[in-house]
């Protein structure tokens, strides 16, 4: 009996019991759809995390003040006010460091004409745009000269532009008042959108860090130092040498703890993607269980089907079907069931993925090898769970099968 004839017989038998066939498939459909959606969500989440981390800047290392103990109470990170622009100047001389920018951030009101807006003022160095890979939309960025003279110049983020100049006029050359001091707008930043944490990155005004320290905070320290390593492979080395340098400069000798903290985004990214992997494994486990349950459903229905069609099997044997033909026919039935279920599952999974993608705005893709794997796996489920019932059918005694009531 040819493969084509076997498949035709199997299909005919399945079509004879449409409702039952569909319900039996449902287990596999749900299982495969779960696998597809799970994988797509996993890939999407990972890509999304990677993208938002990359958007913070490539090869970025952040130095933040550490914790100090004041009267026995630990302040937590950022409590120590020990980082200075000079630390930054020292770091930039280290090998493997491409750029350093201090960051002085102050949350305050900005006024332009009759409009005002509460935003975050960032005091930064000219290298900031390079470190954050943040292009300008118009005008120029803060120059070394601006930093040297603590010039009252400002570069606006797009959200601030929208709030302060709602009529769409160009902010370039206009004056904005920050804490009573007039700053001239020399440039605007390109829109970056939300960060991975949901913050509006465009809601900011950048000014020279010297101006921020002098006019806004009145301090000689900065909130953080942003260091860009020359390449991804040098991140770990730079992190170590920055730590050593700052320990020297801050005269920290063990057992005293560092009054600063050096973190790189790659390690944050890794942590995030590891969490993702654990989630993925968990979801894949659930999906695998549902596929196995689907397979058991197929086995159950095939056993019922064999019992129900005992006389049919007897008849087929009496008209010349060998045991092997009967085995192949029932095996083909369960494989066709599970494979069609698998294909429907992919369709359902793709639809589910699309829905999740629309909901989360994640860049979701279904890796093609997973589509192939799902179909192959569901066919295997069909073989594995269909074999036992098919063997039961093939081993029937034709006389008893024909007499079966």
């Amino acid at each position: 009996m040819s493969l084509k004839a076997t498949l035709a017989v199997a299909l005919a038998a399945l079509v004879r019991n449409k409702a039952r066939s569909l319900l039996t498939m449902l287990g596999i459909v749900i299982g495969v759809a779960a696998v597809i959606v799970t994988v797509a969500i996993g890939v999407g989440a990972r890509t999304s995390v990677q993208q938002s981390i990359n958007s913070l800047g490539s090869n970025l290392i952040v130095v933040q003040p550490g914790s100090v103990t004041q009267s026995g109470a630990k302040t937590g990170f950022g409590g120590a006010s020990t980082l200075t622009p000079d630390d930054g100047l020292a770091i930039v001389k280290l090998p493997g460091v491409a750029a350093v920018s201090p960051m002085v951030s102050v949350r305050t009101q900005v006024v332009a004409g009759s409009n005002n807006w509460q935003t975050t003022i960032g005091g930064v160095a000219p290298s900031y745009t390079f470190i954050r890979s943040w292009p300008l939309a118009a005008g120029r960025f803060i120059s070394e000269g601006d930093v040297g003279s603590a010039a009252k110049v400002a570069v606006l983020g797009q959200t601030v532009v929208g709030q302060l100049f709602p009529d769409g006029s160009s902010p370039l050359g206009q004056t904005v008042i920050v804490k009573g001091a007039p700053f001239t707008v020399v440039g605007t930043l390109a829109a970056l959108g939300q960060s991975g944490l949901g913050q509006d990155q465009d809601d900011t005004v950048l000014i020279p860090y010297t101006s921020a320290m002098e006019r806004l905070t009145g301090l000689t320290t900065v909130n953080s130092l942003m260091v860009s390593a020359a390449s991804a492979t040098q991140i770990d080395g730079v992190q170590q040498s920055v730590t050593q340098l700052l320990e020297q400069r801050h005269r920290i000798v063990p057992p005293a703890t560092d009054d600063f903290q050096v973190r790189n985004l790659q390690s944050i990214a890794q942590a995030a993607s590891q969490t993702g992997t654990v989630m993925e494994l968990l979801l894949a486990g659930v999906a695998a269980v549902s596929l196995i349950v689907g397979g058991i459903g197929i086995m159950n229905i095939m056993l019922v089907s064999v019992t129900e069609r005992t006389r049919e099997i007897g008849l087929r044997m009496s008209v010349g079907a060998r045991g092997a033909s009967i085995l192949r026919q029932f095996l083909a039935e369960s494989i066709v069931l599970s494979t069609i279920g698998g294909i429907l599952g992919i369709v359902a999974g793709a639809a589910g993925t699309l829905a999740v993608a629309m909901f989360t705005h994640w860049p979701m893709t279904i890796p093609p090898q997973w589509i192939f794997a799902s179909v192959a796996f569901s066919a295997m489920v069909g073989i594995f769970f269909g074999y036992y019932p098919a063997r039961q059918a093939a081993q029937l005694n034709p006389i008893e099968a024909l007499r079966f009531e």
Binding site: A12, V319, G320, R322
Partner: protein, 233 residues
């Protein structure tokens, strides 16, 4: 005419619970091509077991069975299945048609296993339906047909491989008198016009009356083997 079935000292034993049942106790019979024989006997006489052995659905415990000149007593399950598919036709009391399947597809079934090409299957099945007089029901499903019509489909199915022998097991057992007569006349016609060899198993004398030879079983042995002088028509 050559012998289609030749059995010598055929015995069949099987165990039913703790008991040994001797279903056939040394049966000798020769069936020539073109014969129409009715096998009669009460239940438990061994006539069904005899039919199963002759139909290669079962193997004898002892004795020899030559089918169309070949010794088939010791064949394995697959070889017996192949002979059933190519040289034997079966008609059962319960028709045994596939439900929700057209008459044509039902008649094609044996040819599917014999590996006949689809176009040929369709043509041959159509011819056989014509031969049994229900070509117009080719597209009907069994549940749209009367018992007599269903049995005709089953007879058409038994004819598709041009079998050397048709085995009919109580073919009229589920039919009313009128349909029984129709079916028996069909057998008679097929035997007379096409020379098809038929072995009919029944316990009804009026059905056996259509055959030209009547063999009676009792307790696993043949008790009478007579020519039916007054064949019904």
């Amino acid at each position: 005419m050559g012998a289609v079935v030749e059995v010598a000292d055929l015995r069949k034993e099987y165990s039913l619970g703790n008991e040994r049942v001797q279903a056939l106790r040394g049966v000798d019979l020769r069936l020539d091509a073109g014969e129409f024989v009715a096998v009669m006997g009460p239940s438990g006489s061994g006539k069904s077991t005899f039919m199963h052995v002759v139909g290669l659905l079962d193997t004898p415990s002892a004795g020899t069975y030559r089918f169309e000149g070949t010794d088939v007593s010791g064949l394995g399950a697959d070889e017996r299945a192949d002979i059933r598919g190519s040289r034997l036709g079966f008609v059962f009391q319960a028709y045994n048609l596939l439900p929700r399947t057209t008459a044509l597809a039902n008649v094609e079934l044996p040819m599917v296993y014999a590996g006949v090409a689809e176009a040929d299957r369709r043509r041959i099945a159509g011819d056989k339906l014509e031969m049994v007089g229900i070509a117009h029901l080719a597209k009907h499903h069994p549940n749209q047909m009367s018992g007599g019509q269903q049995q005709r489909v089953a007879i058409a199915r038994s004819l598709v491989n041009d079998p050397g022998l048709i085995l009919a097991d109580e073919p009229t057992g589920a039919l009313d008198t009128k349909s029984s007569q129709d079916v028996m006349r069909l057998f008679t016609r097929l035997n007379a016009e096409q020379g098809i060899t038929i072995m009919l198993v029944t316990h009804e004398p009026e059905v056996a009356a259509y055959a030209r030879r009547i063999v009676t079983f009792r307790d696993g042995s043949i008790t009478s083997d007579v020519v039916n002088e007054r064949q019904a028509a």
